[in-house]
Subunit: 315 residues, 2 copies
């Protein structure tokens, strides 16, 4: 581990404690959702679309960076527009970092050996020769434990993190994730792996602290850098998976547009009030399209929707 | 389905019958593997590396395009170098297509709803406003059936295909894929889904043919466009998964460097000699690094290794 910097788990704890809320703003730009002022002049030009996406995300970051700890660009919406889209993604990640936000690249990558290493380097670790340089990457566990190891190793080396897909928010997520084998569902099994990894890291940090008292990370050192994606749309599983992974950060999708509310998500937090971040994409970035915020200009609508979501979690 | 073109499943059958072999050349460029003449002048420059990757892959395509039906660029190795790497990928795919090869983008993408649609558009369908325009994409089934549907729909609309990860070649693939639930392993369950999808497509094509006799696709119409990735490194599972998916193409990784040989893979083929394509990356593109081919110039080594692999499958 990089001796000079906090682990990702501790960076995230610090950011949540500083901003006093667990809100993650999802940067999911779509042409049809862009405000009129930012519509690309030529909708058949991928570089015009990519430019519009970049401007849109930069304006959102300007609004939300004083308010929330973290943002999550959805890589697919950029990759859809090819190399030009990926250049916009790279710039959006760099801009968010420059404004003091942590950044999750939501790419759900998963592969084996040197291929997994290549994805890890592509997305993880600011200033570590990572092309996109996010703080954290979402990863898919289907290929097995050995496919996750390269991401864990990169997280350790570059003070970055991962969120492993455990139980996703979509209606069909049970097709594999809920299947039981030897009394454990697939999602429980992955959850146990995530908890083990985060616990190992925390114990290593604690041992390091013993020999070097200046390394103290305080309260935040209870959370590792290997987290889990658990959807807001299955509240019972959310509560039970929270309990299985006391030392892991949860990334909760499915709030708002997908139907989850703050009450559904209450069980995602530990007694210390930490342990989960809650993503909202459309409900914030396209807030002006909803009745409640339609009377505001689009940036003010983004701000109001962000503040309303923050309030829901502080109530 | 596009009425004017063959399905991907039939295109692949035609290509394999024309070239008389099932060899897929994996385009997995690595800086350390490049021939001296193509080493990037500046190894810290991602655009220099991306240029070198493009030149390397173009030369390989020149050698193998008369010999094999299909190539498979590994997206991670390009994405590692950011937007510049992705531009090289786009050009490599276009070049391979222009030389008459089918192209699988090996990206193992998987997500839900509009996000899955974005990945599908990014990679699938020549000339269908797809940024990368490959013929086929590898996809990850962990998020469930509804996460696969957008890829199946795009395959149908653009005469493209997908290979779903069923049983991968790595040592840890059993962690999830071999777990049994209600007497079916996860990989068997995904295999049944793949077979169902390909069978539906074949029946639809057959019905279309009844009303329009000019639409006949002959022998090749026995294979659908929804295929499966099954590793060469588990020969018994390969044989049993072949039998479960009589109408699906199998993409077989793990030949050569990972330990699988032609005998291990014999059971991957149906009685008609079709039904599987076998990938080899390092063993072909870095052939000159191995003793058998070290006396040849690197392009001749690629050609000799390709011909030797073809011979192993014609024996």
């Amino acid at each position: 581990m990089n001796q000079n910097s906090l682990t990702f788990g501790s960076q995230l704890a610090k950011a949540v404690l500083t901003k006093k809320n667990p809100v993650c703003v999802g940067l999911d730009p779509r042409v049809e959702g862009l405000p009129d002022s930012l519509k690309p002049t030529d909708e058949s030009s991928y570089s015009a679309i990519a430019d519009a996406f970049e401007k849109f995300c930069v304006e959102i970051i300007d609004v939300v960076s004083p308010l929330v700890p973290i943002v999550k660009p959805q890589v697919a919406f950029f990759e859809q527009y090819g190399p030009e889209g990926m250049l916009a993604l790279k710039r959006v990640i760099a801009y968010a970092s420059s404004k003091g936000l942590l950044v999750i690249a939501d790419a759900k990558r998963g592969d084996i050996g040197t291929t997994a290493e290549a994805y890890a380097q592509a997305f993880m670790g600011r200033g570590s020769r990572s092309a996109f340089g996010a703080d954290c990457l979402t990863v898919n566990p289907y290929l097995g434990e050995d496919s996750l190891t390269p991401f864990v190793e990169r997280a350790d080396r570059t003070s970055a993190g991962i969120f492993v897909l455990v139980k996703t928010s979509n209606p069909g997520s049970g097709f594999i994730q809920d299947l039981k084998s030897e009394n454990l569902s697939i999602s429980e099994r992955i959850a146990d792996w995530v908890q083990t990894q985060s616990k190992i890291e925390i114990d290593q940090v604690a041992n390091g602290r013993t020999s070097s008292p200046t390394g103290s990370e305080g309260q935040s050192a209870r959370y590792g850098s290997i987290g889990a994606v658990v959807g807001a749309t299955y509240p019972e599983q959310l509560a039970s998976l929270r309990a299985r992974m006391p030392n892991a950060w949860l990334l909760i999708p499915g709030y708002g547009a997908q139907g989850g509310n703050a009450k559904d998500i209450a069980s995602a937090f530990n007694a210390d009030g930490l342990g989960a971040i809650v993503n909202n994409s459309r409900g914030i970035i396209f807030a002006q399209k909803s009745k409640s915020y339609a009377h505001l200009n689009w940036q003010t609508a983004v701000e109001a929707a962000t503040n309303d979501m923050i309030a829901a979690f502080q109530a």
